[in-house]
Structures are given as structure tokens and as C-alpha cells.
Amino acid sequence: MSDIWLLDQATVRRAPIEPASPIRYDDARQVSLVDVGGRAAVAVEALGGAPTKKADIEKSEDQKDRWRP
């Protein structure tokens, strides 16, 4: 509890976010579960340029190399 009502309305979760339990946060910070290169990948995306925690991303090295300039 804080002395600020707005903050007390927050949903609090343990961090770091476990990739095995994808949690959809919001548009700003969403956990996407997609299939990349035949493997499940979980990513935590960031709000408008804000720094984020390291997400566990099981992208195949092939995909990484292909799309990284």
C-alpha cells in the first residue's frame, strides 16, 4: 500500500517475467507468443523506447542472422 490511490490500483507481478507463463500486459508491454523458425518464442516488448528487462527469446540463430542487417 502507498499513500497514492492510483498506485494502489496497480496489478503487481513478480519480475522478471517468466517466459513459460506468458502474461499479456498491454499494448505498451505485451508478451507475444509466436512461432519463429519453428520454435516457440516469447518476447517482452517495450513501451515507447523505455528500457526493458532482458527477455528470453528463443529465436533461432538463423532468424537472428537473417533479419539483423
Binding site: 490511490w5 498506485l7 490500483q9 513478480r14 500486459y25 508491454r29 523506447g49 539483423r68 542487417p69
Partner: protein, 314 residues
């Protein structure tokens, strides 16, 4: 010279992968700039004349070669220097951000969307007022730090209202991450201490409940909508990731309103949240100027990557 598409985002942007794949399938020359790696790139902006980005691989994008820019989710560059204070890092991040956003001031190529427009369109109150001007229904809304007025607002709307933050309220530390979702509240949820309510403004909005939630993804003039069934458990569908989504067609007037709203906000893309009331009235809730859409491809089959590729190559 082959026209290029430049994508400015981050390495973990899996939805960008989908668009890259679609553009690649069409034979479009794509250069993706993951901005964490910007210090490995060379950037020259000859002010008033043009700019050139050179990737570590040697590939380039210039103000002449680029047909369209998809300004997606850039992040601050990862600086190799150790021992920088947080203040120093912030100052350096600001330099990079200003440089990259400044690229939009040169030339008339298509931006999806321009950084300045994205920032402006994040203003939730501007969104609500703009939505009203294009004919979309907007729930009664107040931004408030006065608990007595809040009580009257709630009482005046059947004893319930939706409380939400004015901008995305998210924070984290080493052990916890927190986010303020939209919540249905009554007077009993307000604090006894008026000071606790005074210390941060909050948005109170007339509750449309029960409702079908709709996410309308607008890409240029294309409106792709998906709906999720009503629930009374939560007003914020983001708290219920197990929900199902299916593609739906919106009434023509709602489609037109969404198109006009996005255009009036100066955007080429937005994820618009609507609530369809029991009587069928579509209510505008908010617009997400760079909203997510990946789950809608998987869950509802919405061809968002195709629409984005169309927009970037139009």
C-alpha cells in the same frame, strides 16, 4: 535505384519479423534498424539535403533510396561504455532519439507513422475529443484528483465507473513489475483519505458493461477488426489472455469514424479499442498509436502484416 523500406524497431520485435517476411516475399528491399545497435551504425544527416544510414554489414539506406519508413518500436542504443551514470545515459539517449526522429524532417516519403505524430496521438484526452468530432460515441470521462467529485461522478453513472491511468502507468524494480489496468470501481473503492486521491490524477469513465471488446487495427485506410466475447469479470481484456478473438466487420459508420480519427491524429496506423454495448452501440475507448497486433494474426487471422506491407509499398 530500387526503392527501399526502412524499419526502425528493436531486436525483440517479433511482429516486425512478420512484416519483414511479407516484404521479403514481395521482393522488396528491406533494411531493418534495431536501434539497440545504433552505435554500430553510421548515421549522417546533411541538414536540408539528405541522410544516410550505414549498417554494420555495409548496407545503406538514404533519404533518396527509402520509399517508406515504418517507425515501430525503437529503443535506446545499448552503450558499450561502462560506468556511465543514469543521467549521462539519459542525455546520450536523448541525442540518439533526436537524431533518429529528425530523419522525418527530410523528404516527403511515407512514415508509418511520424514520430511527432505518434507522440501527440498518445494524448488520451486528445483522442477522446477527436473521436467525438468524427462521430464516434465516447463515454462520459473525467480526469480528476478530487475524491468528492469522483464520488458524485460514480453515483451519477449507476454507482460504477471505470478507473484508469491517464498515460500508461508501468514501473518495475528487481523483484516486481506493476501496471495500472482499467478497473471497474464503486464509491467503496475510493480512499477514505482525500489526500491519497489528490496525489495523482486518475481517469474515471462511464462504464460500458457488459460489452463486446473490439480491437480495430487501422492501417492506412484498411480497418481490420476482431472481437472478444463479453465478460463481467474484468473490464480490461488484457487481464484475460485466455480470451478468444474472432474477426468481425464493423458498421460502415464506425469504419469511417476509425479511418477519420487516425487520419486526424496524423497517423497511418493505430489500434483502436472499442466497446460494443448490449444495444449494439460502438463506443470509442482509446487509440494505441503504435499498438500491438501480433496476437490478432494468430487468434483471429487478421492479415495485418499484409496490410502493413501494402501501406509501406503503396
Amino acid at each position: 535505384m530500387t526503392a527501399q523500406v526502412l524499419i526502425v524497431t528493436n531486436e525483440r520485435d517479433l511482429d516486425a519479423d512478420r512484416v519483414v517476411c511479407e516484404l521479403d516475399r514481395r521482393g522488396v528491399d528491406v533494411l531493418r534498424c534495431n536501434t539497440e545497435r545504433l552505435t554500430d551504425w553510421l548515421v549522417v544527416h546533411d541538414v536540408g539535403h539528405g541522410w544516410r544510414l550505414t549498417a554494420p554489414s555495409g548496407r545503406t539506406a538514404t533519404s533518396d533510396s527509402v520509399r517508406a519508413v515504418w517507425w515501430r518500436r525503437p529503443e535506446p542504443p545499448t552503450l558499450p561504455l561502462q560506468g556511465l551514470s543514469a543521467g549521462c545515459r539519459e542525455a546520450l539517449d536523448d541525442q540518439w532519439q533526436a537524431l533518429m526522429e529528425g530523419l522525418a524532417r527530410c523528404g516527403k516519403r511515407r512514415w508509418v507513422s511520424r514520430p511527432a505524430a505518434l507522440r501527440r496521438a498518445e494524448d488520451k484526452l486528445l483522442q477522446l475529443m477527436s473521436a467525438r468530432t468524427v462521430g464516434l460515441s465516447v463515454p462520459d470521462t473525467v480526469v480528476i484528483n478530487d475524491v468528492e467529485t469522483a464520488k458524485r461522478f460514480i453515483a451519477g453513472h449507476g454507482g460504477r465507473a471505470v478507473a484508469k491511468s491517464l498515460t500508461a502507468a508501468h514501473w518495475e524494480d528487481d523483484s516486481e513489475a506493476a501496471f495500472v489496468f482499467a478497473r471497474l470501481i464503486g464509491e467503496e473503492d475510493l480512499p477514505d483519505d482525500p489526500a491519497a486521491f489528490r496525489r495523482a490524477p486518475v481517469v474515471l469513465q462511464e462504464a460500458i458493461n457488459p460489452k463486446h471488446d473490439v480491437r480495430a487495427t487501422v492501417v492506412g485506410d484498411c480497418v481490420l477488426a476482431a472481437a472478444t466475447p463479453p465478460t463481467t469479470a474484468e473490464v480490461d481484456w488484457r487481464l484475460e489472455p485466455e480470451r478468444t478473438w474472432k474477426a468481425v466487420e464493423l458498421p460502415p459508420m464506425t469504419v469511417k469514424g476509425c479511418q477519420e480519427l487516425v487520419a486526424n491524429l496524423g497517423l497511418r496506423f493505430a489500434g483502436i479499442d472499442l466497446a460494443i454495448a448490449e444495444d449494439g452501440t460502438p463506443w470509442f475507448l482509446e487509440a494505441n498509436p503504435n499498438g500491438e497486433w501480433g496476437w490478432l494474426v494468430d487468434a483471429a487471422g487478421l492479415p495485418v502484416p499484409v496490410a502493413l506491407a501494402d501501406e509501406l509499398t503503396a
